[in-house]
């Protein structure tokens, strides 16, 4: 009997993923950032909101005037940039993961429903999705945040409202193909009800593209959150977010480049890592792309 007996498609995909050094390294990097975010209070050397104008624009450690207690320097209010980066990871990554997870669950559920049931629910949901897709992302988000006001829950609501469309369209398209398969007819032949067929037969078959797309979208959501926070529509102080830190540094760019640069760098690294990891994931889940 072959050694691969009893390996689930997920296990096989993970094995393949592990052999892709770049994607695996990126995934480890994201995991590390996530752990740092979770352990922020234990790791951060200072209180991220602790301002001291005596340390205003203190440069990073390798420049003259820097010291080891504030390795990445301080911002315009004398707050430790490293600590703020560590706490900011909670918002950036947290929102990225939470928004994508929620949007994927909602979008995939509606997508399977629309693709399987067809008819009026499909027409209705698809038109709503088309309308949402027609709005430029940032315009939609700014408009909605402007109406609801800034804040953590509002930013999540706004992003989910826009983001579920992606999972919806992927899930719906895959379901349209899956519902015509013999195994769906076989399930009906053995007397399964529609809800059971959607949940137990169709869902497992459309899951991998949905998961892959979700990881790609995570990078996007992180950038959106950063953009909204940069514009002042995101989380409000004293909560720290990377986008907000970039905005803080804008006024002091001439005297302290590090205030904006480090959070910008953090955003870039996390987004690149998420993109590369999702690319590896896509290859791992698609047998045709496996070498």
């Amino acid at each position: 009997m072959s050694a691969s007996l009893a390996l689930s498609p997920g296990t096989l995909a993970f094995r393949h993923f592990r052999r892709d050094p770049l994607a695996f390294a990126c995934a480890l990097f994201l995991l590390m950032v996530a752990l740092i975010a979770i352990a922020a209070p234990a790791i951060a050397p200072h209180d991220p909101a602790d301002a001291d104008l005596l340390r205003r624009l203190q440069p990073p450690v390798w420049m003259s005037g820097g010291d080891w207690s504030y390795p990445l320097g301080c911002d315009g209010l004398g707050r430790d940039i490293l600590s703020r980066l560590i706490y900011g990871a909670r918002i950036s990554l947290g929102i990225g993961v939470f928004v994508v997870a929620l949007a994927t669950v909602i979008g995939a559920t509606l997508g399977v429903l629309a693709g399987f049931v067809r008819g009026l629910p499909d027409a209705l949901l698809s038109r709503i999705a088309d309308i949402l897709l027609g709005f430029p992302y940032l315009v939609f988000a700014i408009g909605l945040m402007g109406m609801m006001g800034p804040g953590l829950s509002n930013i999540i609501i706004t992003l989910v409202l826009k983001e579920w469309v992606v999972a919806f369209r992927v899930a719906r398209g895959e379901t349209l193909a899956a519902r015509e398969q013999d195994y769906v007819e076989a399930a009906r032949a053995i007397g399964c009800r529609r809800a059971r067929i959607m949940r137990d037969e169709v869902m497992p078959n459309i899951l991998s593209p949905v998961v892959v797309v979700a990881t790609i979208r995570m990078a996007n959501v992180i950038i959106m959150e950063a953009s909204l926070s940069f514009l002042g529509l995101g989380v409000q102080p004293p909560a720290v977010s990377w986008g907000g830190m970039v905005a803080d540094g804008r006024d002091v760019l001439a005297g302290g480049w590090w205030v904006s640069t480090f959070p910008g760098l953090a955003i870039m690294l996390v987004v690149i890592a998420a993109n590369l990891a999702s690319q590896g994931l896509r290859e791992a889940f698609d047998p045709r792309l496996r070498q």
Binding site: P9, R188, A189, G191, C192, R193, N205, L207
Partner: protein
Amino acid sequence: MTPLLSIRALRVRFPTPAGLVDAVNAVDLDVFPGECLGVVGESGSGKSATFLATLGLLPSATIRTDGIFWKGRGLDPDALRGREIALTLQNALTALNPALRIGTQIEETLAAHDQGGNRRDRAIALLRRVGIPDPARRLYAYPHELSGGMRQRAMIAIALACAPHLLIADEPTTALDVTVQAQVLDLLRTLRAEQGMSLVLITHNLAVAAGNCDRIAVMYAGEIVETGPAARVLTTPRHPYTTGLLRSHPSLDDPEAPLLPIPGRIPDPGAWPSGCRFAPRCSRHVAACEAPQTLRVVPDGAARCCQAGIA
């Protein structure tokens, strides 16, 4: 004896861009308790459509009937499907869900019908019953890890999950090699004997029907052209189409006999001849064939041919 399943004047039409196409026309069928009915015919003759329509599995088709009865009462397919009537689909290679383990798929059937007890043990018992070796381990196999014969057995195990009174096996031996075909047919025969279950065997292979069925219904162009006990239909066919099928099949008794194919091909659905649908290909074509034919009672069965009594 009351038939288990009784189909009266079933008509199935499919919507196509060219309008409604007649796939099944005026089909009457009875399946009696414990018997094996063979439904024979070439591709497109309406064998599968007849039973898919009966079970309510053709949502897009227009179905007209004078009644479909289960144990003498009107049949509610939604309530019986998978419970008292089970169906195994034509293609065992694609009818199993590729993303789920075999055990999950069997247990799912049990769950869908709220069967109590330990589902895992029941699944193992079912796999053992259909002759799958090492069933406890095969529960964790995915369909692609099983051979064609094994998948067909797994399909049958799923169909048997609720101990149905009637099993409709749609081309259970297609895409299997001959020795495996024989094993699967043996299995069906054993299961039928053990459970007193009725079996409808849909096949294009006359030999398969000959070896396993009590009665045979031959279908051509969406109609039943001949019915009767298997022995009679195979030895003294009353319809020229059945005769043609038998002549185009090699015989063990006389291997030297030339094979005589039926000339022409089955007409397109939607373009059926106005009279007897077999007339254009029939060697005994007479003027009366221009009129539509009904099933005529002959000794031991019925045939849809104006010369049925003469032959």
